[in-house]
């Protein structure tokens, strides 16, 4: 009889180190990840059949409101394209970012009943949540493109930057969400802090205005807000190619990666800490 190769084993032992992210393990759970992505999407559609449409209807209604205010006040927000297109794009991206961050933050708690009965890497829940938003990206991009076309604003070859810019947006939402997912294990009130940050962020980010209206000295420091680089990248890819700020985008990407890593560490430690206490 031929010698069979030695079988592999599951090795269970006390968890050591940060235990941040094991890509090999994520890969091994890819089938479950795929199912969780599908579940998240199906659950959303089942509970709100119009959920995808709301991704651009809500920003559209707000855009009309801001257009009215701008026309009444005559204010100049420093945009080089029609103001309606500028804020519609900004609001679509902001609400996508906001909803994604909140859902990622809540994903671990949502799946907690599951993770107490079946083993899977905890990080799978936030990853599945953020990946299930890809279709929103597509819908929003299409909506912005239609508005842009309707307004007669031309497209450029910079459109190739759209996908990586959107990925950066989702990465930032993931980083912020996963950080608060971990913090919320320590204390549920961190959810309120996240909501406050996101509410303030709408007005502190160049969603409703262009960063060009700010003084040059302020603009340098303004880059610490990662949404500055991301919004300029998306708008640049779609209709303002001359305004793409690659340095700001790089800063935003760096902050998103750092936030994601920090978030994963906090989540890992928080999950382990809570599992040790009764």
């Amino acid at each position: 009889m031929s010698q069979k190769p030695a079988p592999p084993a599951v090795h269970i032992r006390p968890e050591r180190g940060a235990g941040v992210l094991n890509p090999l393990e994520i890969w091994k759970f890819r089938r479950l990840l795929r199912q969780m992505i599908s579940r998240n999407f199906q659950t959303r559609v089942a509970s709100s059949p119009m959920s995808l449409v709301w991704g651009f209807i809500r920003p559209g209604i707000m855009t009309l409101a801001f257009l009215f205010l701008r026309n009444v006040s005559g204010a100049d927000f420093g945009t080089s394209v029609p103001y309606g297109l500028h804020i519609f794009t900004g609001l679509c991206l902001w609400f996508l970012f906001q909803d994604t961050a909140v859902q990622v933050a809540g994903s671990v708690a949502t799946d907690s009943a599951l993770s107490q009965k079946v083993y899977f890497p905890k990080v799978l829940s936030p990853i599945a949540m953020v990946l299930s938003r890809w279709i929103d990206l597509a819908v929003i991009s299409a909506a912005v493109a239609i508005v842009q076309f309707a307004m007669g604003v031309p497209f450029s070859l910079h459109i190739v930057y759209l996908a990586p810019a959107m990925v950066t947006l989702l990465l930032l939402a993931f980083g912020l969400g996963v950080l608060f997912a971990g913090l919320m294990i320590y204390h549920p009130d961190y959810r309120k802090i996240l909501e406050t940050i996101l509410y303030l962020g709408l007005f502190l980010s160049p969603v409703l205005f262009s960063k060009e209206i700010l003084p040059t000295t302020v603009q340098e420091y303004y880059l610490v807000n990662p949404m500055v680089g991301i919004l300029s990248a998306v708008r640049g890819a779609m209709f303002e190619p001359e305004l793409i700020d690659f340095f700001a985008w790089l800063v935003a990407a760096g902050i998103s990666v750092a936030l994601s890593l920090a978030g994963l560490i906090v989540l890992s430690k928080a999950a382990r800490n809570s599992a040790e206490k009764i």
Binding site: P7, P14, D111, K277
Partner: protein
């Protein structure tokens, strides 16, 4: 046995951890311990914040072994299973699982109310490591097993509790792991659902699959397992043959004693070497108002050995040793059987044809009665021993629940027991196997 070993999702390979192929070790647990930190105010005040749910638990499980974990609430059973299922991490020690493992700690884990039964099947199957292709092959069998029928494409929120349970178990019952870990999942749902569970369990465990089964039901452990570990306060009290461990556990926790010995030894017991004349005098002396006294009683198996537990398809013997202290009263033993709820099942009258007048003379007597195989149901049975005069009825001595024993059934040849094609537990204290004669009557 030709084992095809695979890893479940997320199982990490470790070169240094190779199974002993000669013994086909499937589970190797080494000094597993789990400590929790208590966060209550009392714990903070007393400074005793560490709670060890599991302490230095070690065992090895070979391929095809079926291990039952028993113990009181808080003994560490579920903690052990959760560690082996990787739901929680151990504080110390390690464990190796060789082969594809799957754990079922709860039926219907992760069901999304807004999704349909079919969508939930795919999600649940992915949780247990099954691929889409495997699921495509099995989905019809799962739907059929669950008896959900046309509702399979309706949202689970519209299902009754029973339907959810059936669907959950149905998915779990079609996972095909080499190491199966179950925690009390058989105790949920209605009787019909439990019947399904037990039937499928028989199939799963009978197929040389390695099983770790946590349960409060000693009957279920006896039925499905061939080995048991008794945990108490996180430590292994006993590890061995399922019968020995369950006997010891029941003896310890349910006050089961297969033998009864009169607490005060009579003068005759202390003077076993006395002559016949001396004994007669002793009986007169002992009587002193009493007319009879039970000396001892015990339950024995077919080999005449005292036994706390008996297989359902084996005969049981009950031996009573008693003294008749006054002549002419036609004293005879009587035996009452009660089930574990204390309900009277039946009374056995003395009918030995060799003693038509019962016991009319003084002396010490030993009598043995035999219970036929396949009479008593699974579970614990309490036996009250009495000495009576039958007509008119006078109870001279009754020792309530003098002895107790459990009856258990093992999976295997169902033709030897009164199980038929039923999979569920049978109600009542009796489960007789009767003869049947059947013929066509439509000619």
């Amino acid at each position: 046995m030709n084992l095809t070993l695979r890893t479940m999702p997320g199982q990490s390979a470790r070169e240094s951890a190779q199974p002993d192929t000669a013994q086909q070790i499937m589970v190797d647990v080494r000094n597993l311990s789990k400590r929790y930190q208590l966060t209550s105010t009392d714990a903070k005040k007393t400074g005793q914040r560490d709670f060890w749910a599991l302490k230095d638990v070690s065992f090895k499980l070979e391929a095809g072994e079926r291990l039952g974990i028993i113990g009181h609430n808080g003994a560490g059973k579920s903690t052990l299973l959760k560690i082996l299922s990787r739901v929680i991490n151990p504080t110390a020690g390690e464990a190796f699982l060789y082969g594809r493992s799957s754990s079922l700690l709860e039926v219907g884990t992760g069901f999304q109310p807004s999704l349909t039964g079919r969508q939930n099947i795919y999600m649940n199957a992915a949780l247990h490591g099954m691929s889409r292709a495997e699921m495509d092959d099995k989905i019809q069998a799962i739907i059929d097993f669950s008896e959900i029928g046309q509702f399979i494409d309706e949202p689970v929120r519209t299902y009754s509790t029973g339907m959810r349970s059936r669907l959950g178990f149905s998915v779990a019952a079609h996972i095909d792991p080499e190491i199966l870990m179950l925690d009390e999942v058989l105790s949920v749902g209605d009787a019909a659902f439990q019947q399904k569970c037990l039937g499928r369990m028989d199939e799963l465990t009978g197929n040389h699959r390695t099983l770790i089964f946590v349960s409060h039901s000693i009957g279920a452990v006896r039925r499905f397992c061939d080995r048991a570990i008794w945990l108490s306060k996180g430590e292994v009290v006993m590890d061995g043959n399922v019968r020995d461990v369950c006997d010891a556990y029941e003896g310890s926790t349910m006050n089961i004693a297969a033998t009864f010995q009169a607490p005060i030894q009579s003068a005759i017991s202390r003077n076993v070497e006395a002559s016949k004349t001396q004994k007669a005098a002793l009986f007169d002396e002992m009587a002193n108002g009493d007319v009879a006294a039970i000396v001892s009683a015990k339950v024995m198996d077919e080999t005449h050995q005292p036994a706390r537990s008996l297989k359902i398809d084996q005969k049981a013997r009950i031996e009573i040793l008693f003294d008749v202290l006054k002549p002419g009263l036609r004293i005879e033993p009587a035996i009452h059987f009660r089930n574990d709820k204390g309900e009277m099942m039946f009374v056995v009258a003395y009918t030995d044809p060799s003693m038509p007048d019962a016991f009319n003379e003084t002396g010490r007597f030993r009598t043995i009665t035999e219970l036929p195989a396949n009479l008593l149901n699974e579970g614990v049975h309490y036996v009250t021993i009495g000495l009576v005069t039958a007509d008119p009825l006078v109870r001279h001595q009754m020792v309530e629940k003098a002895i107790a024993f459990s009856v258990y059934e093992v999976i295997g040849d169902t033709t030897k027991v009164a199980r038929g094609r039923y999979a569920r537990s049978f109600p009542g204290g009796l489960r007789p196997r009767l003869d049947w004669t059947t013929e066509r009557a439509d000619d």
